[in-house]
């Protein structure tokens, strides 16, 4: 039997929204669905390594210095308060045994969820493949992702 496809666009790089995306993705994979997460724009930060900055020119380097990458240092969409909010949220998640975003990324790769990085964001932000974590399924454009979306019944944008 062919698996039902579940596609999620992860546009946001906010910890809370990304958490929701991963909860749905891992649940869908547990329910035997073929899951694909397309990380674009701020969402790409989830797949970036923790680095001082990255980029090829000065503008990109400045932007990527402000726009910190790494699943472990995503901001909150509300009450970020210069990092206080995420710190509190992480402690609360730990109290309730909720996996961290980093743990969710690893779990997703282990479960066969396809983590896809958007090539457009990748290029205009001046990233290189070495800026990204291992386990990424592919680097693709919108048409490739939409090709998958057309074959699935459920697609989300977060």
């Amino acid at each position: 039997m062919e698996k039902e496809k579940f596609n999620i666009v992860v546009f946001s790089g906010d910890m809370d929204k990304v958490l929701a995306a991963f909860i749905l993705a891992t649940t869908a994979a547990s329910m035997n669905m073929e899951v694909r997460m397309f990380f674009t724009f701020w969402g790409l930060n989830v797949l970036r390594k923790k680095k001082f900055t990255s980029g090829k020119n000065l503008l990109q380097k400045l932007m990527n210095f402000m726009n910190k990458g790494g699943a472990g240092r995503l901001p909150l969409s509300r009450f970020n308060m210069l990092g206080m909010g995420p710190m509190m949220m992480k402690a609360m998640m730990k109290q309730s045994k909720v996996p961290s975003i980093e743990e969710f990324v690893k779990m997703s790769v282990d479960m066969g969820i396809k983590l896809v990085a958007c090539t457009t964001t990748f290029s205009f932000m001046g990233f290189k493949e070495e800026d990204f974590i291992d386990g990424i399924d592919s680097y693709t454009g919108a048409a490739t992702f939409l090709g998958e979306v057309r074959e699935g019944r459920v697609s989300y944008f977060i």
Binding site: I23, T26, T27, A29, S30, M31, N32, M33, S96, K97, V98, P99, M107, M111
Partner: protein, 77 residues
């Protein structure tokens, strides 16, 4: 009910009990019964939904003072 295996999910929130159940069921043989212990009330709806999606058999839930024992039978690979 006599389960072949017990999975402890006490204190875990959604989606972990379901993710762990799916993982555990992969290792079991057809005909075996898994008992899942949970405290998250979401399990009452989530487990039947998971069984429906994956084609496994939902045998029921026992509830006692905020603790849930859910039984699932593996009926196919």
């Amino acid at each position: 009910m006599k389960p072949n295996k017990t999975l402890d999910c006490f204190g875990l929130l959604c989606p972990m009990p379901i993710v762990k159940t799916a993982n555990e069921m992969k290792k079991m043989k057809v005909g075996e019964v898994l008992e899942v212990l949970a405290t998250d009330i979401g399990i009452k709806g989530d487990m039947p939904a998971w069984c429906k999606a994956t084609g496994q058999e939902y045998l029921g839930v026992e509830e006692k003072e905020g603790e849930y024992k859910v039984y699932v039978k593996k009926v196919k690979e």
